[in-house]
Symmetry: C2
């Protein structure tokens, strides 16, 4: 309804495309995904109150009492709330997350020293990698179909993992015992909290190169399997480069050239682009039916939907060129290697580049840390760090960042409405790839916060919110505690804004009842691109995923894995700027995740 | 041919059954599993000589030279053969595997002290768990389709892992540069090395309860996918209890009772047995077509072929009863828990019992260590131990232990030929389960060594040998080095038997060319049930697989995971004897992995 009143003209103009978008994203209706009977012979379960602190595990007993299992929590007592001696010391040594965050984002002299002295920098990285990954269950315990530990959570890797188990179905309210018995109307939540009135640009000059990096990078591992349900994934546990090479062996073979290790490409005016779909027989790309895209404009990429948005297509093209460039470097070193070995070794190098750039350019900008975030996997060799990763469904939800998306983009003085850019890569061929990339570089992304969700992306937001309800996500404060942050005490503390606090109070009644995603993106401004909570929850999932990649492990992290010293060097010196500048035709300028000052 | 001449009568008598067996095991013909062209533009590759020592990685360069990457090997030099200072110290502190093995299997006073003092025992276990698992790549680097590190080895979990990569296809001989250009005739190898003339019983009084434990236990994770090829598996990475509950969710649901967490059962004379297949609609068990088994005698079990051998059926029945018994215990503690929670929690307890019994009863007997092998997962918490596992295809091959299988079994004074026991569980219902189990307990298994392979199992052996060739396994000495054992210098050192040494010399020419499996089971006698090499290679794969199970990790290993203290106690006090004695109707006697003295 709010759609009609607010954006009628725009919606009419693009109704074909929105319909197609809806086909893509609106496949599932939230439902009870357990298709066998759930017998709840519980009239009162004390564990619905989540009484155990510090990750103690609640077990209900026959006389309607409960017990908290405090094993390995470094706490004891009825609710695991009293620290053991060692737990008390450790807590005393660990700074409060908010304080630490404030330090890290301030330009202190200590960071300049750390940045300048390699062994201090390594030590800092070791601390960051370990302290963050310690917050992530590895191996995972929970999935979305059970509110307790199951073996299936681990062995059935088609499940997304869960960091906190679902609220049990027999509890009085969706959040356990607090808040309303029924969730507030999702459309009302969207309208009152998320919907954009006017575009609010991000305060850190974040550009669209960042926005599309986020999207291009994350969809290699966020691959919800809607056929099975929102608790399932089709993807692997992390950075597998499947967004470039394809998720299945069949897909991968379709786009390989089978010569010199390279990927198939099409030459246009002396530049290499992904091949046309019609030239790759038998590959299925996710072009929605009924779209006005002629067959001869469809492309074959590693990810089935990356040809639908020009920003993703641009990244795909750059990575394709980089892969083929790396193959040339390798062939020069090893002229006797066959196509197969060049391909697989280049893929290892590309994976290393992805992680290097993600850590040192992307996470650095995202966090706004003043200490340099470095990619130094060897620092966690021979530590407790676990080199295996699974994707948590909460991480997927947290990563819904459509607030970044502006209403339109200016390319060479031509303004394109967002919907003019969807489902077509025409602007790239109209203006040229280099011009398009410079436009991504100089157009600002939106601010991550309330009231900044463009109407076009509302279906995605709505689906995600409904899924979090179907999957019975615990509230934002449960997650704050899980990640060792103190829970918000009031709506005002959460939002720092009386008006928004009142809105949330009207919707949820109790601060502990605020939904996960709603809490994440109504938090008051902080010193990072995202809120403190997003950084302190996304950080652990992200660091764990990046550093747990097999290439970071002791047996992989050596020159021979990457074809020798030269390949290892490519990984160890990779940067966003090099990635683009080496693969653009013209002279590249100011490639970064922020808009250059000249464009502001 | 040798089959005909040697065992004509027996083969004729059972030709229907052997035909059916062949259907089961002889599905694939060894072939080149790479279905895309392999371009080998290599006329000389120095890496075919495997020049790098101490797990250094060989990389060939353009001028036909090579370089060894010694990173993380604690060695340096052209061939990574010179230890660094720390490597030298560590080598000095680590006893030679053969010496250590000799100590561990001797009844020294030091073991009595270790066994008696818990903290020393824990320390010994920590050393064993870590030193063994350090030998296993985790994350894995290799699969069978490439002779170098690939990302696919890790991310494509349908691959079995490889501990050593395949010999490159362009090398002069199957073993690199040594040995014959073509493998010796497989039938000749089988006839001269493996085929049993007369049954040789095992020297450690090992019984058939042990043999069937091995088979029942290992087929939860050895699940070669012959449709795809011998390098692929349908299974998970370890002890997932899928041999009891089913590998797929569909299978699992078919055999669940959906009441009180239990599995379906059939009552016969007051005893519980697995249900009949006709009572479990839609479940597919692997009964070979054409077998004379009436529909009303077919059973529905967790593993699709466990109803084909009465020994496996007996174990399946006992575990079914144990699961349902545990459900009763849990329901008593938590009467309000629903079927789903009882089922999943019982499954966690059963998994714990499996690991406990495997470590403390099974591995203890297998190794013949005089130090008590204990299940103490907490000792590797907060160490470098990696709680994730993959099955190595070499482990599957090593675990072909058909030498254990006797020619027949005596039950209550009735002698059954082996083939009379295949494809039918009739003996169990004729004699009663308890009598059958006592027979398994009092019949001796065969010796693990040359010339002790019953003719009936030859097809399995032949398929495995051909697969190891198709997968281009490196030779036994490469594996000895990989597991830090010194390579055999001569055929005589390997076999300790001149006649067998001469046979092997005739087949392979060079000791370094002896095939993996052939080397494993032609080794001279040692102080364990298996040869030193089998124990020192199987041990690491086994320990890693058992202790890397998720239930052993810090977040799982606590009472609440197992439903509380009572469930945890079941895991921590499990034993082979309890497993049987709690689930047999009559008074159980002498349950163990050795034949009781009264039966000898």
């Amino acid at each position: 309804m709010y759609l009609r009143s607010m954006e009628l003209t725009k919606v009419r103009r693009t109704h074909v495309l929105v319909g197609a978008l809806a086909t893509l994203v609106w496949i599932n209706v939230a439902k009870d995904y357990r298709d066998y009977p759930v017998k709840t012979n519980v009239d009162h379960d004390p564990c619905c109150e989540f009484p155990c602190e510090n990750q103690g595990v609640c077990i209900s007993l026959k006389d309607k009492s409960y017990i908290c299992d405090c094993t390995n929590t470094e706490h004891y007592g009825t609710n695991c709330s009293t620290p053991t001696w060692i737990g008390w010391v450790r807590k005393g040594l660990q700074p409060d997350p908010a304080t630490l965050h404030a330090w890290l984002t301030q330009d202190l002299w200590v960071w300049r020293v750390v940045n300048a002295v390699p062994f201090l920098s390594d030590y800092a990285m070791k601390y960051i990698y370990l302290s963050r990954s310690d917050l992530i269950d590895s191996p995972v315990r929970f999935e979305s179909d059970h509110s307790y530990t199951t073996l299936d959570a681990y062995f059935n890797e088609t499940y997304y993992a869960r960091t906190l188990p679902p609220t049990p179905r027999h509890c009085p309210t969706p959040m356990g015992v607090v808040g309303p018995k029924e969730y507030p109307d999702v459309d009302e939540v969207i309208q009152k909290v998320f919907l954009r009135k006017t575009f609010i640009p991000g305060p850190f000059k974040t550009n669209l190169l960042f926005q599309y990096y986020a999207q291009h990078f994350t969809h290699q591992f966020f691959r919800t399997n809607y056929t099975k349900g929102p608790q399932f994934t089709k993807g692997n546990g992390g950075v597998d480069a499947s967004n470039i090479y394809g998720l299945t062996e069949s897909h991968r073979r379709h786009i390989r050239l089978f010569k010199d290790g390279k990927l198939k490409y099409r030459e246009v005016n002396g530049e290499h682009f992904p091949p046309l779909l019609k030239d790759v027989e038998g590959l299925d790309m996710e072009y929605p039916p009924g779209l006005p895209i002629p067959e001869e404009s469809k492309h074959a990429l590693g990810h089935p939907f990356y040809a639908l948005l020009p920003g993703l297509f641009a990244y795909s093209t750059i990575w394709l060129r980089e892969h083929n460039r790396v193959c040339d470097v390798l062939k020069e070193e090893h002229p006797h290697w066959d196509d197969e070995r060049l391909y697989h070794t280049a893929k290892l190098i590309i994976t290393g580049e992805i992680i290097k750039i993600t850590v040192e350019n992307y996470v650095q900008h995202l966090s706004q840390y003043k200490v340099n975030v470095k990619f130094r996997p060897h620092v966690v060799h021979n530590t407790r760090f676990q080199f295996h990763n699974r994707i948590n469904v909460e991480f997927d939800h947290l990563y819904h960042w459509h607030q970044l998306v502006p209403d339109g983009i200016t390319i060479n003085d031509t303004y394109y409405d967002l919907m003019d850019m969807a489902f077509s890569v025409k602007p790239i061929f109209t203006h040229g790839l280099d011009t398009f990339i410079q436009a991504l570089n100089s157009n600002r992304a939106g601010k991550m916060g309330p009231h900044n969700h463009g109407v076009v992306n509302v279906p995605v937001l709505k689906r995600m919110l409904l899924n979090s309800r179907a999957l019975r996500f615990q509230g934002i404060n449960s997650y704050r505690k899980r990640f060792k942050m103190s829970p918000f005490k009031s709506f005002e503390e959460l939002t720092g804004d009386q008006e928004l606090a009142d809105v949330l109070r009207g919707l949820y009644g109790h601060i502990d009842a605020v939904e996960f995603y709603v809490g994440l993106f109504t938090e008051h401004d902080g010193p990072s691109v995202m809120s403190l909570t997003v950084v302190n929850m996304g950080g652990p999932w992200s660091v764990k995923g990046l550093i747990a990649n097999p290439i970071c492990s002791p047996q992989y992290w050596k020159p021979s894995t990457f074809g020798g010293e030269k390949g290892f060097e490519i990984v160890n010196t990779a940067s966003l700027e090099k990635l683009f500048c080496r693969n653009m035709k013209s002279k590249c300028q100011n490639i970064d995740f922020v808009v250059p000052d000249s464009s502001l």
